[in-house]
């Protein structure tokens, strides 16, 4: 095989997964990484921990300083890709240069969605919260005692609320949904987390939206006025799909990829938050913008780009999130029959039907959650395990003697 040239657009988990996979198969091919940010690869979900003081910019690097040189990558930071020319197999950069490719990976991630609200342009101090630069900017203006309005009570908005809590700000969250974390929790769990957050001095206006902004206050749809010094917009993100969409590649909300992380255009792969793929827990096509999936898609794409035949068909929605000391782990979809346990501090719900576990929600006691995740990911038939036992207590004890021997004693 002639030496291949790999070009990766993006520099986060999916890109890193691709690099590490390519280098397992191909030590010599050129790898070019192009990033519109100017930072060494870093973990985006850590920006809230950065504000909270639980990490710093050095420790939040996703890979060591020597990552690019160890893997013989050419890293082009601070460059935006303008377009792909699939006929010529090259991409055009924002400085007018071209970069040719044999195999291209689109790992462009997602961008914050800015809702079209009347008067938003009058707000001077408004921020989004998905990148290191966002976190730096927010941190530079944030002062003790300020009023912060966060638009959105989802993962990003609430992690932001936690991050900025170190500065003793007064935080109000507004969300159109009636519930906090409505994308990953059911009603009872949302209630429990909302109460926990209220104890941590976050105030909520749920089931409402902002009708109009003025420079320093928002007017809600019920005419409530909320004054603020700083506005954070965290209503959601949109996959960055335009590079592929512009050349007629198949897209929906995200770039459509198959189980080999191929797009509809030859030699162009995609991975991570910019993509839409099949959810193994529900069978539906979905954007599952989560770091583990991003890494594993990138890895799968990298394997296939470098000549292996690799399938990744086990992406499922899954989240591990801590908020003010309370841990939440969830996975899958919440349909079917329900097993439920709860006390004041802990919450467990398992959802199952047709002999399969479909999803779960754990709050508080999250130990061994991965055993539930594996049942969903592998589609384990529940009649092959002691389901009654595993509901109460996740463990390998619920599996058959043979399965235990295979897992622990290496006897297949």
């Amino acid at each position: 095989m002639n030496s291949l040239k790999y070009v990766i657009i993006g520099n986060s988990a999916a890109a890193v997964g691709a690099v590490e996979a390519i280098r397992k198969n191909d030590r010599s091919g050129r790898i070019v990484i192009i990033s519109n940010e100017s930072h060494h690869t870093y973990s985006r979900p850590l920006i809230s921990y950065l504000l909270l003081g639980k990490t710093d910019e050095n420790r939040m690097k996703y890979r060591e300083d020597s990552f690019y040189s160890d893997n013989k990558c050419e890293f082009l930071p601070g460059i935006t890709v303008q377009k792909i020319e699939p006929g010529e197999k090259r991409i055009m950069l924002d400085d007018g240069r071209y970069e040719s490719y044999d195999k291209l990976l689109i790992a462009t991630g997602s961008s914050p969605f800015i809702p079209p609200v009347k008067g938003l342009e009058k707000v001077k101090r408004k921020f989004t919260f998905t990148t290191l630069d966002d976190a730096r900017k927010l941190d530079s203006v944030l002062k003790e005692g300020q009023n912060v309005l966060i638009l959105g009570a989802g993962l990003i908005g609430l992690k932001c609320a936690e991050g900025i809590s170190r500065k003793n700000v007064r935080t109000v969250c507004v969300d159109l949904s009636q519930r906090v974390l409505s994308s990953i929790l059911d009603e009872d769990a949302s209630d429990m987390i909302k109460k926990h957050l209220e104890k941590s001095n976050i105030r909520f206006y749920l089931g409402h939206q902002v009708a109009e902004f003025n420079e320093n206050h928002a007017v809600l749809d019920d005419n409530t006025e909320i004054p603020f010094d700083i506005l954070v917009i965290a209503v959601g993100v949109r996959p960055n799909i335009s590079l592929l969409k512009d050349i007629g590649g198949k897209t929906n909300r995200g770039i459509i990829i198959d189980e080999r992380c191929r797009t509809s255009i030859p030699d162009i792969y995609a991975a991570g938050d910019c993509c839409e793929c099949r959810d193994a827990s529900s069978g539906e096509m979905k954007v599952m913008a989560l770091l583990p999936n991003a890494y594993m898609q990138g890895e799968c794409a990298g394997m296939n780009m470098s000549g292996a035949d690799c399938v990744f068909d086990k992406a499922i929605p899954m989240n591990a999130i801590g908020l003010f000391g309370k841990h939440i782990i969830t996975a899958g979809v919440y349909t079917g029959d329900v097993y439920h346990e709860a006390d004041g501090e802990n919450y467990k719900k398992l959802f199952y039907s047709n002999n399969r576990l479909n999803g779960f929600i754990l709050i508080g006691n999250i130990e061994k959650a991965g055993i539930y995740t594996s049942l969903i990911r592998e589609g384990t038939p529940l009649d092959t395990i002691d389901f009654e036992l595993i509901c109460r207590m996740p463990g390998l004890m619920a599996f058959s003697k043979e399965e235990r021997a295979s897992r622990l004693n290496g006897i297949a």
Binding site: S43, L46, P292, G370, S374
Partner: protein, 144 residues
């Protein structure tokens, strides 16, 4: 590659592996003194029910979901051993969400903990293996 293997047929359910594991992460010379009055948080755990018992610790998987899913890069695999950089770990528990063995657990200082085959503390044989009185936990090379 040497691995820890567990044969439930020989497990007495004595929990000594858990004590040896907890002891391995202290700097004390005497086990009784090291563990006196503390609630141990071992990296190897016994599961038991109806007369069956066995120890579970990290399998150091060939396709480690905890490493692949780690959001900080704190979990890495080198020379067959998965280790945790506790300085980088922020305790998000994505690895606990990912591990199909339930072999990663929270610790008292915020970072997660898991079996690292005693490479940071002891030489040669992991302490749980050394301490198992019935040969139910072994550390050996097997053809794969």
């Amino acid at each position: 590659m040497k691995r820890v293997y567990v044969n439930e047929k020989w497990c007495l359910g004595c929990h000594l592996c858990e004590y040896y594991c907890a002891f391995a992460s202290t700097n004390e010379k005497d086990m009784a003194r090291a563990l006196k009055d503390i609630r141990i948080k071992p990296r190897i755990r016994i599961e038991e029910k109806d007369g069956i018992s066995f120890a579970v610790s990290c399998r150091h998987c060939d396709e480690p979901l905890c490493v692949k899913g780690c959001i900080t890069g704190a979990l890495t695999k080198k020379d067959g051993v998965i280790t945790i950089n506790r300085d980088k770990c922020i305790g998000c528990y994505t690895c606990i969400l990912s591990c199909p063995y339930g072999a990663v657990s929270p610790s008292d200082d915020g970072a997660v903990q898991k079996c690292e085959l005693c490479i940071k503390t002891a030489r040669g044989t992991p302490k749980c293996v050394e301490g198992c009185p019935n040969g139910a936990i072994v550390f050996e090379e097997r053809g794969e």
